[in-house]
């Protein structure tokens, strides 16, 4: 198993290298566009243009430019955004990442637990009103756009009913770091967590139910029943445990893209200074260094998360363990 893990790690590094080359190429090696002007921002003076050109080595060969860029991103970390008066990019991302991580991890916890409960219940009570109600609720969850749901909860909890006993505990929009005030951190995030989780609860519970229903026809489920196990044990220890393999692969991808900035809409709606909102701001300002850095960051996250999913796969499915 150890060699497998090492090989997977090597592959991950290789993919990361490829991604960085691609991102670099898209932003700085596109023919017909001068990267200097794009980094310097709109209406830059010729002096700044000249400074940028030398700093980034745009007058030199492409590999040198690539190395300079990677050095500025990962080693000296002094990639600066000219559109934003020279603010350093990497610290901005370092500040934004924990916010996004907190938001996504909390939401992920909610959606995984809720969808496992809903999916399993629906499969156990297949074709009864329990099943139909849960799956209808899931469909409604999938259909509600997250920004709309966010705005409506804001409307209710922040203004319309904020003064009632029900929502008076809700703090204003924004983020409170965990290290400053754990209680405030929780209160600031609990509503964004639920709002972000709603759609995923819908998707995951429906996928899990479909998986469990398909598994119910499998031979090994019949064997489990023939052994005289209780229906609960058959469903949980044999059905759910086997269905988790698909569940985990789905989860890894969604989780990675959310941490990599996919929670943009939720972050913007709730005023959370996360990676998504950083990207959003950079896009509106055409702040090229920040855009590149966030793209790079999210690509790294998706690749790393995929590697983690593969490793969890090894733990979950003995067949995969032997196949490599």
């Amino acid at each position: 198993m150890i060699p497998t893990l090492l090989r997977r790690l090597g592959q991950t590094l290789f993919v990361l290298f490829g991604v960085s080359v691609l991102v670099f190429a898209v932003f700085f090696a596109t023919p017909g566009a001068d990267p200097t002007a794009r980094i310097a921002g709109r209406n830059a003076s010729p002096q700044i243009m000249e400074k940028v050109r030398r700093e980034y080595g745009f007058d030199r060969a492409l590999p040198v430019q690539y190395m300079t860029m990677m050095k500025k991103l990962f080693i000296t970390r002094d990639l600066a955004s000219y559109a934003d008066r020279g603010e350093l990019v990497v610290p901005q991302i370092e500040q934004a990442a924990p916010v996004t991580a907190c938001l996504v991890c909390g939401a992920a916890f909610i959606w995984v637990s809720a969808s496992i409960i809903m999916g399993t219940l629906a499969a156990a009570f297949r074709d009864t009103w329990v099943d139909r109600t849960l799956m209808l609720a899931g469909l409604v969850g999938i259909s509600i756009p997250v920004f709309w749901l966010g705005q409506v909860t804001n409307l209710i909890t922040q203004s319309r009913y904020h003064d009632t006993w029900l929502f008076s505990w809700v703090p204003g929009l924004g983020y409170v770091p965990f290290s400053e005030d754990p209680g405030g951190w929780f209160r600031a995030l609990v509503i964004p967590w639920v709002v972000l989780a709603v759609m995923f609860i819908g998707i995951y519970s429906r996928v899990l139910r479909a998986d469990l229903v398909a598994l119910a026809g499998e031979d090994f489920m019949r064997t489990a029943r023939a052994k005289g196990l209780s229906p609960t044990r058959v469903m949980l220890r044999h059905g759910l445990r086997t269905a988790l393999v698909t569940f985990v692969s789905l989860f890894g991808l969604d989780f990675a893209q959310l941490v990599g900035g996919g929670a943009l809409l939720t972050e913007v709606v709730f005023g959370l200074p996360g990676v998504g909102r950083l990207t959003y701001r950079a896009l509106t300002n055409l702040d090229l260094p920040v855009i590149m850095a966030t793209v790079m960051y999210s690509a790294i996250f998706v690749v790393v998360a995929n590697a983690v999913v593969d490793m969890v796969y090894l733990l979950l499915d003995p067949r995969v363990r032997d196949a490599r």
């Binding site: 090994f220 029943r225 023939a226 052994k227 005289g228 196990l229 209780s230 086997t242 003995p318």
Partner: protein, 341 residues
């Protein structure tokens, strides 16, 4: 208990129907048979003849919506049909165990073989993990699994088909069941492994005192293994009787046709192996009279109005055919001796 008058399993007029198109379709109709202590009974028929459905109904394993099981199946005097799920569950795996056709897919892929056998033992008996594992290893050894302690720690996909089927049988026997239902246990295996598994099943009578209900479509397997045989056709009983009698003097044309379709081991080879023309009817399109009528060489007017009732032919032999009663029984088979063990 040598003088036990009551058979271990006494099935009478078992019917299984499922709803379809507003009506009920009978998958199994009025099947009756007995299994005595330490006896191997064969249940033979083509695919779709209701063999597996019969077994699943006995185990209470049919869970498709709206299914109706009627009739009676007494296991040691206890009625299985309509038994409370909890009571049936306690019986399942402990007193009646089942092994399935495809050992490739019958184990849960994410647990070790040993874990799954332990699970069954611990579901029925209060035993520590360690004690359960010790019994598991011992069972695997009894089933002829090499290096049982290590095999117990392996996952299903790491074992060959034959080993998996041995592990399956070990799991079925883990709580010393009095009745083992084996649903096509050798169909997915190659011939040499098949012979070993059948040998194992035959040995169970002596080693564990278990009765076996062997479901198969293979007349050769029946001849080698079963004391008595029940032939099903389209969910109905065609014929039943002691295997030797059945093979020597089949009373139902279907049984005779099945036997004719086995290539003879001795004597001249037929130019073309006789096959039964046509396909068995689906339960939905069963003809009004004898279900085998449309494919039968001896079909005539008396077969058509209603399905012939089971009639006693000789000692222990019954057939659902009008021919013996009309005084024109099928001739005894010349090659019968050749196919017997």
């Amino acid at each position: 208990m040598p003088a036990d008058p009551m058979p271990l399993l006494d099935v009478r007029n078992l019917c299984v129907s499922v709803p379809a198109n507003g009506g009920m379709i009978r998958l199994v109709e009025n099947v009756s048979f007995c299994v005595d202590e330490a006896e191997i009974v064969g249940l033979v028929g083509e695919s779709g003849s209701g063999k597996s459905v019969t077994a699943m109904a006995l185990m209470g394993l049919i869970d498709s919506p709206g299914v109706q099981v009627r009739g009676s199946a007494r296991f040691r005097g206890q009625e299985l049909v309509g038994m409370a799920p909890r009571a049936l569950r306690a019986l399942r795996g402990r007193d009646i165990a089942m092994i399935f056709q495809d050992p490739m897919t019958a184990f849960t892929p994410v647990y070790t073989i040993g874990w799954q056998i332990d699970e069954q033992i611990r579901a029925h008996e209060r035993l520590s993990r360690r004690a359960a594992r010790a019994r598991t290893v011992q069972l695997l050894a009894e089933m002829g699994v090499p290096d049982p302690a290590r095999t117990a720690q392996r996952y299903p996909h790491q074992l060959s088909g034959g080993l998996r089927q041995r592990a399956m049988i070990a799991m079925a026997l883990s709580c010393n069941p009095t009745l083992l239902i084996a649903d096509e246990p050798t169909t997915a295996l190659d011939v040499t492994v098949q012979a070993q598994i059948l040998e194992l099943l035959r040995g169970l009578r002596h080693s564990h005192g278990s009765s076996v209900l062997l479901i198969t479509h293979d007349m050769g397997v029946v001849a080698q293994t079963c004391a008595r045989t029940l032939v099903l056709y389209s969910g109905r009983m065609a014929e039943s009787g002691p295997t030797a009698t059945l093979f020597a003097r089949p009373a139902h044309p279907y049984t005779a046709a099945l036997l004719d379709s086995i290539p003879p081991l001795y004597g001249p080879r037929p130019h073309r192996l006789p096959a039964i023309a046509g396909l068995p009817p689906t339960p939905r399109e069963r003809p009004a009279g004898c279900a085998f009528g449309p494919r039968c060489a001896h079909v005539h007017a008396t077969c058509l109005p209603a399905p012939p009732a089971l009639a006693s032919i000789g000692p222990g032999q019954q057939a659902a055919c009008v021919l013996p009663a009309e005084g024109t029984p099928l001739p005894p088979r010349a090659t019968a001796q050749a196919t017997q063990p």
